[in-house]
C-alpha cells in the first residue's frame, strides 16, 4: 500500500466526518415529517368528560362504541395519530362526515347524541412544543 502524506489522511478523515454529519442531519430533517406533539383525545358526553385517550400510545387502530342515555350509539375509531367517528345511529351522520381529526383545531361533534371529541396537546409536550423554534431573534455573525 502506498504511503500517503499525513495531511491526506487528515483530509480523508475530515471529509468522512463532514459527510457523516451531513447525512445524519439530512436524515434528522427528512425522517420525522410529523410534528413532535402528542395529543390526548377528550370525549365529552352531555358536556361531561367521559374518557381521555392519549393518541400516541396506540400503534394500530382500535374501535369502541359510546352509548348515550337514550340508546344512541356512536362508533369511534382511534388511529395512531387521529380519531374519528366511523358510524352513528343519529339521522344526519354529520359526525361521521367530519372524518378524522389529528390536531387541536375543530372538534368532532355529534349534536343529536350530544357527543364531542376534542384533541388537546398532552402536558409533557405542551411546554416546549408551544413554539419549538423559540430562539433569540438575534443570531448573527
Amino acid at each position: 500500500m502506498r504511503k500517503y502524506p499525513s495531511w491526506k489522511k487528515a483530509a480523508t478523515a475530515i471529509t468522512v466526518f463532514l459527510l457523516v454529519l451531513c447525512l445524519a442531519s439530512l436524515l434528522a430533517l427528512l425522517l420525522p415529517p410529523k410534528r413532535n406533539v402528542s395529543y390526548i383525545a377528550d370525549v365529552f358526553q352531555n358536556g361531561n368528560l367521559i374518557m381521555s385517550i392519549p393518541l400516541n400510545d396506540t400503534t394500530e387502530s382500535r374501535t369502541f362504541t359510546v352509548t348515550g342515555e337514550n340508546g344512541c350509539v356512536n362508533e369511534i375509531q382511534i388511529r395512531s395519530d387521529s380519531i374519528g367517528i366511523i358510524s352513528a345511529d343519529c339521522p344526519d351522520k354529520l359526525c361521521v362526515g367530519q372524518g378524522f381529526i389529528r390536531t387541536s383545531g375543530l372538534p368532532i361533534t355529534c349534536l343529536p347524541n350530544r357527543l364531542v371529541i376534542q384533541l388537546r396537546p398532552s402536558e409533557d409536550s405542551g411546554a416546549n412544543s408551544e413554539d419549538p423554534f423559540a430562539v433569540p431573534d438575534a443570531v448573527s455573525y
Partner: protein, 172 residues
C-alpha cells in the same frame, strides 16, 4: 498591547486593511435580506478574510483581525446579545480552523472552511442553548450543521481561489 509595538508598520497597515475589508464584507452581507427564514443561516463571507489570514499570516493575526471586526461590527450595527454570539461563533471557528489548517498543512482550504463553518454554527448553538436554556433550540441543529458545512465549503473555495493570487507569506 505593548507586545504589538514591535509589529512592523507594514504589517499593522495590512492587518488594518484586512479588518476594513472584512468589516465591509460583513456590512454588505448584513444588508442582503436573508435567503431562508431561519436565523443564523447566512453565507458568512467575512470568514474568507479569516481563512486568508490564517493561511498567509498567522493564527494570532487572524484572531486580532477577527476580534477587531466583531467589536467594530457590534459597535456599528449590532446589539449586545449578538456580540456574544459573534464572539462565540467566531472564536470557536477560528480555533478549529487553525487546528485543521495545521493538520492539512494548508492544503484543501475548502475543508478547513467547512470545518470552520460547522464550528461557528455549533458555537452559536451552544450559546443559544445556554442563553435560552430550552431544548427547543436543539431542533435547529440539523439545519445549522448542514448550512455551516455548505457555506463553509463556499467560503473555503473563495479563500482557496484568493490564495492563488497572494504570495504564500506576504508578511510574517
Amino acid at each position: 498591547m505593548s507586545r504589538n509595538t514591535s509589529m512592523p508598520v507594514k504589517k499593522v497597515t495590512l492587518l488594518a486593511l484586512f479588518t476594513t475589508l472584512s468589516l465591509a464584507i460583513y456590512a454588505i452581507e448584513s444588508a442582503v435580506p436573508p435567503l431562508v427564514p431561519i436565523p443564523g443561516i447566512k453565507l458568512g463571507l467575512a470568514n474568507i478574510v479569516t481563512l486568508v489570514l490564517l493561511r498567509h499570516f498567522s493564527a494570532r493575526d487572524a484572531a486580532l483581525v477577527l476580534l477587531a471586526r466583531i467589536l467594530l461590527s457590534a459597535l456599528l450595527f449590532g446589539q449586545a446579545l449578538s456580540l456574544l454570539y459573534s464572539l462565540a461563533g467566531g472564536f470557536v471557528s477560528l480555533i478549529v480552523m487553525a487546528l485543521v489548517m495545521k493538520l492539512l498543512q494548508k492544503n484543501l482550504v475548502f475543508l478547513t472552511g467547512a470545518m470552520g463553518g460547522l464550528a461557528h454554527n455549533m458555537g452559536q448553538l451552544t450559546i443559544a442553548f445556554a442563553v435560552t436554556s430550552t431544548g427547543g433550540v436543539l431542533a435547529y441543529a440539523p439545519f445549522l450543521i448542514l448550512s455551516g458545512i455548505l457555506t463553509g465549503l463556499f467560503t473555503g473555495f473563495c479563500a482557496g481561489f484568493l490564495g492563488k493570487y497572494l504570495p504564500p507569506r506576504p508578511m510574517t
